[in-house]
Amino acid sequence: TFGSATAAELVVGFSQIGSESGWRAAETTLTKQQAEQRGIDLKFADAQQKQENQIKAIRSFIAQGVNAILLAPVVATGWDEVLQEAKDAEIPVILLDRTVDASKDLYLTAVTSDLVHEGSVAGKWLVDTTAGKPCNVVELQGTTGSSPAIDRKKGFEQALSGHDNLKIIRSQTGDFTRTKGKEVMESFLKAEDGGKNICALYAHNDDMAVGAIQAIKEAGLKPGKDILVVSIDAVPDIFQAMAAGEANATVELTPNMAGPAFDALAAYQKDGTAPPKWIQTESKLYTQADEPLKVYEEKKGLGY
């Protein structure tokens, strides 16, 4: 009974980046669900995409004396000082979905996927699918300067290197949004001979891919056949597109980062077991062969 009482009083602060995408909304929902299931009192702080707000939030958490802090860092750098403060206050910090450039002893563990790896999974799928046939690829980048955009580009390029049949002919930012994805794709299509020059699209997230698919259709081409579509995140809507044969593959970034994080925290609180410094989530590849409609139904209710 003593143990359960302390568990009930466990207060965890969660500094979330914001709510800039459906994926992040799902992550927030799942984190809250997981906390509720475990009887954790979750203090949630939305940083509106600003690092300074996240730092303020962590400082406030420390001032309030929470038992642990979850941090989804908006950017990798600049956390040393505030993490040191948390450490001084003996509050364990767990990083969610992105890592930081700080000494590893400043946080308990990081539950993340490997962004570079995601890009290379997508790239590898394209390499395998085209099987040596020449193919011009256009790329829709995420927000310029954001770490997913940089790493997913890097991973994709790594996977493509050495396969001279694959060429990235155009690469622009679509700001991770559907609207911009559609607009940029429209201009790609115009610029590349009405799209006849393009054989595949790689989008840094599914939302841009969904927008681009519409642009491809409106240009009179068949997405998924005339132009292969591969993207990252595995949000529900892309499975609908895959079911309709309009998208070919997506790499999952699971929104359930909190589950493993809370497990690690519980173990640590119980008997001080230090978890590994990096708990990597799986970057699973989904293709049209994976019963997309079924996956869609599973994911629909998660708050994407």
């Binding site: 459906g22 909304a25 700001d175 949004t177 559907r178 559609k182 201009s187 009179g220 809507d237």
Partner: protein, 341 residues
């Protein structure tokens, strides 16, 4: 009538020249730029894309012009777009008819405008701050409606507004053309335009002359809200979903920029809706041009800033007086004036 048009052309000349220069410059970098063809019964080509993609900013700029003419500013239009897009998506997915959905959405836009207008006209709060409240809170309201997700819909009627076409033109283009002409007629065929300009130049003197200042001020913000609502519907219909997080994000700045590129002073007074529409098209032409040019995206902002600075410098009053002899606008129109008579 001819002199009316000449006056009009004279007013729009700098914007037309700027647009022409950009179009020529882009088509030099990208030769296919001017191609137009009929595909699936609609015009297809980069120029059409500019008109189509520019729709939200054009619509916002129409409302913004009137607000700015009253010496105000409306920072909330981007957020109102998001609210209205979310409202439309929520309404249509919860089973309302298309007409009902549109009515609800427009009403919400008008309500937002009313809120801003009351803050400015009745509570006498400075426009930037008054509309900042809704700018900050509005996106939250939009997310409250969609619960942070992208609310997708499949209603063909609503989708038609975003990607259908009418008489060969994309629907968004048709909508802003019709709406723009309507509003321009409304302000210029009635006395509204003059009264609004009077308020913008000297609110106190206008009130003393019997102008119904508070009502007109509120009306200006209501129009801006309405424009944002239409823009929000178009943006949502375009991607078949309401993206509360990103719809209209920072578009208020583009809209203000469009108004200024169109030559309307931020200090209020004289305004031209046609010029603001051209301003918006110029900005979209820059954006599309950058996308077509194939530069790495890191350079987007620099290129955009540079072009805007050049356009603004060219139409700044100082520059125009200093180089008046280069611009034959006034001098050259004289002989033709004589010829016309």
């Amino acid at each position: 009538m001819t002199s009316f048009f000449r006056l009009y052309l004279n007013r729009l000349l700098p914007q037309l020249i700027a647009l022409a220069v950009i179009v020529v410059a882009v088509s030099l970098v990208f030769p296919g730029f001017l191609n137009l063809e009929i595909q699936n019964g609609r015009l297809y080509g980069s120029l059409v894309d500019i008109l189509n993609r520019g729709a939200p900013v054009v619509l916002l700029a129409i409302g913004m012009t009137v607000v700015i003419a009253t010496k105000g500013i409306d920072l909330s239009v981007g957020a109102v777009m998001a609210i209205c897009g979310a409202t439309a998506a929520a309404a249509i997915t919860s089973g309302h008819s298309l007409a009902g959905t549109l009515l609800i959405t427009l009403a919400v836009g008008i309500l937002c405008g009313l809120w801003n207008g009351v803050l400015v006209a009745v509570l006498d709060i400075q426009p930037i701050i008054a509309t900042l409240v809704l700018m900050v809170a509005g996106r939250g309201i939009a997310q409250l409606i969609t619960e942070g997700a992208i609310l997708t819909f499949n209603d063909p009627g609503l989708i038609f507004i975003g990607s259908g076409s009418f008489a060969g033109l994309p629907m968004p283009v048709v909508i802003w053309l019709v709406f723009g002409v309507l509003i321009a007629m409304l302000v210029r065929r009635t006395a509204l335009g003059m009264l609004i300009e009077a308020i913008g130049v000297n609110r106190q003197a206008s009130t003393l002359s019997g102008v119904l200042t508070p009502v007109l001020l509120i009306a200006a913000y209501v129009l801006s809200g309405l424009c944002a609502a239409i823009a929000g519907i178009i943006a949502a219909a375009d991607i078949r979903g309401a993206d509360a997080n990103n719809a209209g994000l920072w578009l208020e700045l583009d809209a203000i920029l469009a108004v200024v590129v169109g030559g309307t002073s931020l200090l209020g007074g004289r305004f031209s809706i046609a010029a603001s529409v051209l301003g918006a098209i110029i900005i979209q032409a820059i954006n599309t041009g950058i996308l077509l040019s194939g530069f790495p995206p890191e350079f987007n902002l620099i290129i955009k800033a540079a072009i805007i600075v050049v356009i603004l410098v060219l139409q700044s009053p100082r520059f125009r007086t200093a180089f008046a002899f280069l611009v034959p606008a006034r001098g050259a129109s004289k002989p033709s004036e004589r010829a016309a008579k």
